[in-house]
């Protein structure tokens, strides 16, 4: 994960917000729980404490935005009209696909935005983010 974070920080014009605080993360997780939306894993919480939201080359990863609904993980998941919200939380998106976390299966999933078919699965957040951000396979 640290290798990916270092790599991301070197990308020109990669837009991120101020790192999320532990208090903000706990607060958001409680909001998700109350509204019966699946929770994000510990690995993603740790990621948010270093890189909170990503906007890069037309690709977006959610985080915690106290100012607006925009890229805020709770607000965006609440707005999205998707089934199985209690099992799956959306972590980001590009023009065609969602990056999601399936809490029940404990897997990161790449889901087609229209058909909602699962196209790829990952057990590791770094690989899932690399896929969404189109960071080349080694």
């Amino acid at each position: 994960m640290q290798k990916l974070i270092k790599q991301l920080k070197s990308f020109p014009l990669l837009m991120t917000a101020k790192p999320a605080t532990l208090e903000q993360i706990i607060h958001t997780q409680q909001d998700l729980k109350i509204n019966k939306i699946a929770n994000f894993p510990k690995e993603f919480s740790q990621f948010l404490q270093q890189i909170n939201t990503i906007e890069y080359d037309g690709i977006f990863i959610f985080g915690i935005n106290p100012r607006s609904y925009y890229l805020d993980i709770f607000a965006q998941n609440d707005m999205l009209d998707l089934p199985n919200k209690s099992e799956i939380i959306i972590l980001g998106y590009d023009e065609f696909e969602y990056l999601a976390y399936n809490e029940k299966k404990q897997l990161y999933q790449i889901i087609d935005k229209e058909t909602l078919d699962v196209l790829q699965t990952y057990t590791n957040l770094s690989l899932a983010i690399q896929y969404l951000l189109k960071i080349e396979d080694e």
């Binding site: 020109p12 014009l13 837009m15 991120t16 917000a17 101020k18 607060h27 409680q30 909001d31 109350i34 509204n35 909170n52 939201t53 906007e55 080359d57 037309g58 977006f60 935005n65 106290p66 100012r67 607006s68 609904y69 925009y70 890229l71 805020d72 709770f74 607000a75 609440d78 707005m79 999205l80 009209d81 998707l82 089934p83 590009d94 023009e95 065609f96 696909e97 087609d112 229209e114 058909t115 909602l116 078919d117 196209l119 790829q120 896929y131 189109k134 960071i135 080349e136 396979d137």
Partner: protein, 410 residues
């Protein structure tokens, strides 16, 4: 015509767009806000929430100032302007009173009043293979397709490939038309140009010409990527980068002008996202200039989508309905550079229904943008760019021949 200036010292068009940006952001934020847990149960509103409401009320009371109809306007324009004020006024009222259903309705109404039209989606059938090719053409070939999609035949060949020597069968015996999905793959110039690489990659995998019929599109793309990686071949340029490079090559001046005249809009959007970027102070134009220069340099060099923007497919890939030319989905005519928040998000707000059914089981709405629109920077027509008229070489030659024939006849 002299530009009308608002009290804020900015162009009236920019001021109007800034109001839309503020109100729409607040509207979309409000939809989920009510569901958030209060930190302190006794506290009705936090200080920040109260300030937000006060600001919105203040904005509501001053709408006339920014949307004040010009006396010179005719009655139709006057009515339209007044209607916009009513709509915004109602929308703000709904935000303040957290009426979520009404908020969505007013957002839709506002979009319609600003000239956006809703149409039903066609949602023609499209296979996962075809969709995969459209996505790969758009985003490029950064990852190997998942093993879940590869054919059993190919997986077996791939596993054997390390033990066997590459095929020595001459290239001329490989007919790509024998691959069932080649009829789709070749529709994309990006892939068509790489036909020799596809054949070489098949030879490397020890796939014989008789076995081509077993390959699917995922196998083909997998082999291409493997071949390019092994031979250090520069990967294909994706449609996304091509579009951005085309856009900045043809509309750099307009884009610069937009970024400068809408500085307040851009800085507000950055602030809303909590981005700490040095765009300079109010009187420091150099910082903001550097920011724009950096963005444009990346657009030219890498074809990167500028921050705060996204690329919108005007006709969704399911609505293209042209099996003979899938590449149309990623053509310049079908793409539009658009501000992500709130405009692009709003365009997709009506894509889904509450049941979350598959798209081909439902008729949902989409916003129809002009086929010529290439940039959407706001509702105001001044912040929208349309494709310039260009004549291709054949049209020019035809005109020349017609002109010469006319001269001869005379």
């Amino acid at each position: 015509m002299a530009k009308r200036q608002s009290n804020m010292g900015i162009n009236i068009n920019t001021a109007q767009d800034l109001i839309y940006l503020i109100v729409l952001d607040k509207a979309l934020s409000q939809i989920s806000h009510k569901k958030r847990r209060k930190k302190n149960k006794n506290e009705k509103l936090t200080k920040e929430e109260q300030e937000n409401l006060d600001n919105l009320l203040c904005l509501k009371n001053s709408l006339d100032l920014f949307f004040l109809p010009d006396n010179k306007k005719n009655s139709v324009e006057y009515r339209n302007q007044q209607q916009k004020i009513y709509n915004l006024d109602e929308l703000i009222e709904n935000i303040i009173h957290s009426k979520n259903t009404e908020i969505k309705q007013h957002v839709e109404l506002l979009m319609e009043k600003e000239g956006l039209t809703f149409v039903n989606r066609e949602a023609s059938p499209i296979s996962a293979e075809e969709k995969f090719l459209i996505k790969t053409d758009f985003h490029g070939l950064s990852h190997y397709p998942s093993d879940l999609c590869l054919s059993n035949f190919f997986i077996k060949k791939r596993n054997e490939a390390n033990d066997k020597v590459p095929s020595t069968i001459d290239e001329q015996y490989y007919n790509l038309n024998d691959v069932p999905s080649w009829k789709f793959i070749k529709q994309f110039k990006n892939f068509q140009k790489r036909a020799p690489q596809f054949i070489k990659s098949m030879q490397a995998m020890n796939i014989t010409p008789q076995e081509l019929k077993h390959l699917n599109a995922y196998d083909m793309i997998y082999m291409l990527k493997l071949y390019q990686n092994k031979n250090n071949i520069f990967p294909l340029e994706n449609a996304k980068s091509k579009f951005i490079k085309h856009f900045i090559a043809n509309y750099e001046n307009e884009f610069r002008e937009y970024m400068h005249s809408n500085r307040q809009v851009i800085e507000y959007a950055l602030h809303q996202k909590g981005i700490q970027i040095n765009t300079g102070g109010e009187n420091d134009n150099r910082g903001y200039q550097n920011f724009i220069n950096q963005i444009i340099a990346q657009m030219k060099l890498k074809g990167s989508v500028p921050p705060l923007f996204n690329i919108h497919h005007k006709r969704p890939i399911k609505d293209i309905n042209n099996q003979q030319n899938l590449a149309l989905a990623n053509s310049v005519d079908n793409l539009c550079l658009i501000i992500e928040n709130p405009y692009h998000i709003m365009l997709h707000m009506f894509d889904s229904n509450s049941e979350g059914k598959k798209i081909y089981n439902r008729m949902v709405k989409r916003v129809e943008l002009s086929p010529k629109m290439i940039f959407f920077g706001g509702f105001n027509k001044k912040f929208q760019f349309f494709q310039k008229q260009t004549q291709n070489i054949q049209d020019i030659l035809l005109l020349k021949i017609q002109k010469e024939n006319k001269c001869k006849n005379l």
